[in-house]
């Protein structure tokens, strides 16, 4: 949350000109702690609400805060299509590998073989890679950071805000209470340390052997492309329609 406020400040975005939209889950309440236009939607529905708001007021900043369950499971369809449209939203996905709020059930990003109340024999499903998903679906800015490095997270979010088009910033987060406790990371500082130790910067992966990346989080700007932005393209359609052209 601090990182979002700092990034907004660094980008010079006024409180009145920004909306923060959150869904349901551990990140859901975040919008209610911020002093700007804030909207707390039903579970998984952040991106459609944000798309409507952005299209209604295309020159304002619309920031979406979501979780791994919110954006990858119940809101998965909205996620891929928002990326495909490349609409100018900044989506921050706090990935804590679990449904923390409802008691730690496994989520689409929970590693296989993890324990969860709804997987007492271990999870069978392989995990989604949020950033790969975003890139494949067409988001033009994709980055990853972690809660272990506030400065880095702030910078990734700031770059996401600066980018014109769909920006997805995955933030690896800790849920020591409901995920860590049952999966070898029971204390917050310990889990944050574990996350920190698992980070590998995008800039150095080229020189590392493939085995060294096993079980690591590659952090940094993973991809940035210039692609036509949806709201700007719609503005062109409006111009054409007003001049009677198809």
């Amino acid at each position: 949350m601090k990182a979002i406020v700092r990034a907004m400040h660094e980008q010079g975005i006024a409180k009145d000109d920004a909306a923060v939209i959150s869904g349901i889950g551990c990140s859901g309440r975040m919008s209610s702690y911020l002093d700007c236009n804030t909207l707390h939607t039903p579970h998984g529905r952040t991106l459609p609400f944000a798309t409507g708001l952005k299209m209604a007021r295309p020159n304002k900043s619309v920031i979406v805060v979501s979780g791994d369950g919110d954006s990858m499971a119940i809101g998965g369809n909205h996620f891929i299509h928002a990326c495909r449209r490349n609409i100018d939203l900044t989506l921050i996905v706090a990935n804590n590998f679990t449904y923390g709020l409802t008691g730690g059930q496994f989520s689409p990003t929970t590693p296989a073989q993890s324990w969860a109340p709804t997987a007492p024999f271990g999870t069978l499903e392989p995990q989604f890679d949020i950033c790969e998903m975003a890139q494949a679906a067409g988001a033009s800015f994709v980055a990853r950071s972690t809660v272990a490095n506030l400065k880095h997270m702030t910078e990734m979010i700031r770059l996401g805000l600066e980018h014109k088009g769909m920006s997805v910033v995955e933030v690896i987060s800790n849920c020591h209470v409901n995920y860590g406790r049952k999966n070898m990371h029971p204390e917050a500082p310990e889990m944050v340390n574990w996350i920190r130790e698992c980070c590998v910067d995008k800039e150095v992966i080229e020189v590392l052997p493939v085995e060294a990346l096993e079980g690591k989080f590659v952090v940094g700007v993973l991809s940035q492309k210039q692609r036509p932005e949806y709201a700007a393209q719609w503005a062109e359609i409006v111009e054409r329609a007003k001049n009677g052209r198809h």
């Binding site: 409180k15 009145d16 000109d17 909306a19 939209i21 309440r29 919008s31 209610s32 002093d35 700007c36 236009n37 804030t38 909207l39 707390h40 939607t41 039903p42 529905r45 991106l47 459609p48 609400f49 944000a50 798309t51 409507g52 708001l53 952005k54 299209m55 209604a56 007021r57 304002k60 369809n77 909205h78 891929i80 299509h81 719609w234 359609i237 409006v238 054409r240 329609a241 007003k242």
Partner: protein, 390 residues
């Protein structure tokens, strides 16, 4: 001077929406409502508006709520299965008091049912489809000139009462064309949401103390506030305080029920001397009008009560209108939905249902036959109420 056009019901809704000030539509293709989206995809950009075809019905409903918070008048259109998918976000709009219009062009159900054929099976879903207690306004016209006026009115009521308004239609009205009198834009009453008249630091978006419908600030206009589907206090922030929770929900319900005199519209025809009253709405009311003319020519004094506002239900008006009738028929293209509400409301005379779910409109002769059968053979057994008369 109204302008005479030949238009389909779906085209009427699209054009009337623009006349009412709608500048944002989000939808998902579904028969038999898709023509509404097609017309708006063509027309909205010409007036600087936004048309979005979303990834699903849920997203379309979410997008119109987001855009409404951004200050636009917004609409989505769908049919049965899509209407079910919209219910979650529709409840959000009721709770967060976000104006918007949802069109449901009804087709045969349940499930995929009879996708190209008319029915009236969603009149209860329109009232009770989302979860929890919530107010809702539901309008259902019966001819296409009225469709134009009621579409405009749907937007006006949404803005005035900060609520979603559901505009019902059906495949028959949606796809048929007829002579439509399009009013001059200057003759239309257009209502816009009331903005706060206090400085931002004093603004309470959900104030329960002053009035039933607090003014609504749009996002990005200096009134930073919080909008949530969680039960909230007068500032918009979540609360679990029992008194605050109860006060908010009571105000929410009351803003519609206490304004029923303004929201309710209905039509009465020939009830002054009627021995037989007939309750019908939407496309079925057209059949009933034909049937009444036939019955009158046969010497049966029949009259029509036609709610245009289905919800809230016009209890009082119905009571007064049928007070002299000896029996009340309820004609609807479903297995018996509004008849339950009519039975709840009217207890002094027999109530007989005429229901049809074949995908075909109700032939006026079927109604005439049922009424005459009742008059000649006396009271129908109680269990005949839900039998089809075909």
């Amino acid at each position: 001077m109204p302008h005479i056009r030949s238009m389909s019901g779906n085209a009427v809704i699209a054009e009337a929406a623009i006349a009412a000030g709608c500048r944002f539509f989000a939808g998902y293709p579904i028969t038999p409502s898709s023509e509404i989206a097609a017309v708006l995809a063509e027309e909205l950009p010409k007036v600087g508006g936004v048309f979005l075809q979303m990834e699903d019905e849920i997203a379309a409903m979410g997008a119109i709520i987001g855009a409404s918070l951004g200050g636009m008048k917004t609409m989505t259109a769908t049919s049965g299965p899509g209407f079910s998918l919209k219910q979650e976000n529709l409840g959000f709009a009721c709770m967060a008091e976000v104006p918007c219009v949802v069109v449901n062009v009804m087709r045969g159900g349940p499930s995929t049912g009879l996708p190209t054929l008319p029915a009236q099976g969603d009149v209860m879903q329109a009232r009770w489809g989302t979860h929890g207690d919530h107010p809702i306004i539901v309008l259902y016209p019966a001819d296409l000139t009225e469709m134009y006026h009621q579409t405009v009115r749907a937007f006006n009521l949404a803005e005035q009462y900060r609520t979603p308004v559901i505009l019902l239609s059906d495949e028959l009205l949606g796809h048929m064309s007829e002579r439509v009198e399009i009013p001059d834009a200057a003759d239309l009453t257009i209502v816009n949401r009331r903005k706060p008249d206090v400085p931002p630091e004093q603004y309470l978006p959900y104030d329960v103390r002053r009035e039933l419908v607090p003014p609504m600030a749009n996002f990005f206009e200096g009134y930073r506030y919080h909008v949530t589907g969680l039960t909230h206090d007068e500032t918009g922030f979540p609360t679990e305080d029992p008194d605050l929770a109860e006060a908010q929900l009571r105000r929410l319900m009351l803003k519609v029920s206490a304004n029923a005199d303004d929201i309710l519209e209905w039509e009465e025809d020939g009830l002054a001397d009627a021995e037989i009253a007939i309750f019908a709405y939407g496309a079925a009311a057209r059949s009933v009008r034909e049937a009444i003319a036939e019955l009158r020519s046969l010497g049966v004094r029949a009259g029509l009560f036609r709610p245009i506002t289905l919800w809230p239900f016009p209890d009082k008006a119905l009571h007064l209108a049928v007070s002299r009738a000896g029996a009340l028929f309820v004609v609807e293209m479903n297995m018996g939905q509004m008849i339950r509400e009519v039975e709840r409301s009217i207890r002094h005379i027999p109530i007989i249902g005429v229901h049809k779910v074949s995908g075909q409109p109700i032939d006026p002769d079927e109604i005439v036959f049922t009424v005459r059968d009742y008059l000649e053979n006396g009271t129908l057994p109680r269990n005949a109420v839900y039998q089809m008369s075909v």
